[in-house]
Amino acid sequence: MSKTQKIVFMALLAAIELTIWVIEGQIPAPIPVPGVKLGLASVVTLTAMVLLGRREAGCVLLVRILLSALFAGSFSAILFSLAGGVLSWAVMAALIGRFEEKLLWVVSVFGAIGHNAGQLLAAMAVTRSAALVWYGPALLASAIVTGAFTGLGAMYLVRALGRYRTKRSDSK
């Protein structure tokens, strides 16, 4: 893949991720606990990380977060997106080389836990309320379930997009 092709591919991934994020936001949450959502957009981030690399996935994610703030129409949302996104990216970037690709869903679960932890910490910082820590167990449970699903989604997407891979597989 040439440099230009790679940039175009990354831009496409960012656009796809943004679209998924906007559409998912229109679906009412099935569980009445704020912060619980499937997080389908992370499928794209994780796929980008496997196919292109950590840095490229970070770029795709940052572009998606910045643009999603425009679509959400509120600036405070960007703080929560960033807190969750950056922590999730860091956790997945640290773990992705340590798991074989058949265990990609495990990386995704840890990433989802990181995402929810980041958002919870941001919410606690904004409201300055330690009581929010009681959301923790619920957010952990939801992160495990949603992370496993989005991880499986990413595994199928990686398989389908295998020919766009530019990165050597770094799993053992």
Binding site: P32, P34, G73, L103, T127, R128, L132, A138, A141, I144
Partner: protein, 111 residues
């Protein structure tokens, strides 16, 4: 390979069950504490409410309209962009606080 998959699946299933269990088993009382920007703003004894009434909490961050009834409290209107707190509906126990992030408002039922 197979053993690792099973290991992680079992570990995560246990953790998820533990988290969900801890969350659901946490009980509460029937006094509502209203926090604004982390500081206690007011408490309302929900057991003592015989006739439901409307109450407006107006702060420098925005305004929320509460509906206070016997054993339950909810936000019925807010001038925030997302209305998450309104959609959450009434709470009757200490399981889930109502949080209005844009207005830094937290309503929790405490013992």
């Amino acid at each position: 390979m197979k053993r690792k998959t099973v290991f992680w699946a079992v570990l995560f299933a246990l953790l998820a069950a533990l988290g969900a269990g801890a969350y659901l088993l946490r009980g509460g009382g029937t006094r509502a504490a209203i926090y604004v920007d982390g500081a206690l703003y007011d408490t309302v004894d929900l057991d003592a409410v015989a006739v439901p009434y409307e109450r407006v909490v107006e702060t420098e961050w925005g305004s929320n309209t509460l509906w206070v009834s016997h054993g339950a409290i909810q936000v019925t209107d807010a001038d925030c962009p997302n209305h998450d707190c309104v959609r959450q509906g009434a709470i009757t126990d200490g399981l889930v606080p109502i949080v209005c992030l844009p207005h830094r408002l937290v309503i929790q039922i405490v013992e």
